[in-house]
Subunit: 327 residues, 2 copies
């Protein structure tokens, strides 16, 4: 695209998820001027989902009392793996996508420079520029939800590496011999031991073994997935089953983070995602305790463990920041 | 120090180890002009070892038909943890050192700008600039010996992170629940599962269980540590006990490297250290097989697994390169 600089124009940030699409207009100071949101309808075919993304972008622009001509660029965070150079989503299981040209679609529709990256990379960038990690040159963002994603900031830049795939903190391997199977096909990844999905499994294993828990009364349907808010409510009831599962999850998160500290010597660990947002103090303090215990004292010295600060806005803000940096 | 540039003068690189001290004079093209070597005598007190280091430096300079006035700077790789800014070795168990001012001693003695870093960081830098990793922007060096050390090159620079301690690949944790105890105090670090020390332990466990091995005849003293050359000889005899131990070690190395690939997306994995140097093809091919199997295909795509190329010279060459870069 020929446009090279924003001349102070705002950009649009898009956060594409398996259940919802968010878009926001963001000015050059990183302020949100508007938000828009739609369900993804991932069961429809990719062309229809792409059209919905365009619709949400138009809504966000209209909501900010602007037109597309007032916008300098578009940034979008998407599930991956994806290729940030071509903007093609290689595989996105949550969306049922394979080789979908997200960048091409948006550039064709809006004639604006468009930049695509991994959703958690973009979320980490948002936290680094506008959230918990402002001014911190080297940090790791870890987002705990259905899976575990992350991003790495090195020397104030998002680090993506040789194949542009870096940051998969959920897939460092902590129990290769006899751990639970991970969604990625491997055994004993951190994601298989500490994600909300893993916590759900650990709770149900205890229930199946006859343990009593308030979870059974908190869940309307006993087969429904256990949401983060339900976990928090159970913890407020001092529920032993949930507490045991969360202690296990934070133990594995802490051990994984210890390895990351020994390996990368970050200044800050940012913990985010739905589960952490429901219990930010519990998660950060438990993970810090385990991580400091299992890492070198000179590597963990003065490392800060903090909860993410931007919540649901991390994705759109990070995508907007990415667009501002790259255009 | 006031001297800022070499004006083409050579530098001295020092490699300080628990058993020997190496020094070399290296010109600005990275060519070795001379080498010198002495035993460390780590049982003596630090002042005496420091004097021996100075002696080896003088010998290397004399061997190159030069005087100290012809030298632009000194770089030294040392066991750590250490502080590269102050040049103080915080703790070096192999040397029995605590808070030893290596930089201060060398600067006082030679009045030359002096730069200190971790021995494996420096070795990785050597391989990056002059060895197997020439021209590769993002790589990880893993050195398997008594322990497992490593270094990380990001965007053509040695990455040291917030606390200047990054690169401890040996202390990512692969079996926290029931793994063997590591020298660092933790459970299940890669070093405790895949170093020469771990291989030694796995062999002796099998011997204690009555398994037969050529190792017993290859070792003059059955309690002597099993050197890398002995492991290679046993493999050449198709020894099942040694083969089983090496397969386990390369499995854990491979799983650890898989996590590193998912996390950092390096372009190259360089494997070095005594054990690997004794069997470079076996180690690189086994580690590659396991690592590719356990990492994302799009992250492991085109990643090269190569043996280190500089052997014993990696330390002195890397230290010299570091001095050239920093002065």
């Amino acid at each position: 695209m020929s446009k090279s600089k924003s001349n102070g124009k705002p950009v649009v940030g898009v956060d594409l998820g398996g259940t919802k699409i968010l878009a926001a207009v963001v000015n050059k100071e990183g302020k949100l001027l508007s938000r828009a949101k739609k369900s993804t309808k991932a069961d429809k075919d990719p062309d229809q989902v792409l059209d919905r993304i365009c619709l949400v972008i138009r809504e966000a622009v209209e909501e900010a009392d602007l037109t597309i001509n007032d916008i300098a660029a578009i940034g979008a965070g998407s599930p991956g793996p994806l290729d940030p150079e071509t903007g093609i989503i290689i595989v996105a299981p949550n969306l049922g996508w394979k080789n979908v040209d997200l960048k091409g679609k948006l550039e064709g529709e809006f004639k604006l420079p468009t930049f695509i990256d991994n959703d958690v990379n973009v979320g980490t960038l948002g936290e680094h520029r506008l959230g918990a990690g402002k001014g911190v040159a080297n940090l790791i963002g870890i987002f705990v939800g259905t899976g575990i994603g992350g991003g790495i900031i090195i020397d104030n830049k998002l680090y993506t590496g040789f194949n542009k795939t870096a940051g998969e903190v959920g897939h460092i391997i902590l129990q290769p011999k006899d751990g639970p199977k991970c969604g990625c096909g491997n055994i004993g990844c951190m994601e298989a031991l500490a994600s909300r999905t893993a916590i759900d499994r650990m709770i149900r294993e205890q229930l199946d073994n006859g343990k009593k828990s308030v979870i059974t009364s908190l869940l309307k349907d006993k087969n429904a997935r256990i949401k983060s808010g339900v976990l928090r409510d159970a913890m407020e009831h001092d529920d032993k089953v949930v507490s045991k599962a969360l202690k296990k999850a934070t133990y594995y998160l802490g051990v994984g983070v210890a390895g990351l500290i020994n390996l990368l010597s970050p200044e800050m660990i940012i913990l985010g995602g739905g589960v952490v947002e429901a219990m930010p103090d519990f998660f950060t303090s438990e993970v810090e305790k385990v991580a400091v215990k299992h890492s070198f004292p000179n590597a963990s010295k003065n490392v800060r463990f903090v909860p993410a600060r931007l919540g649901d806005d991390a994705g759109v803000l990070g995508a907007a920041v990415m667009a501002q940096m790259k255009m």
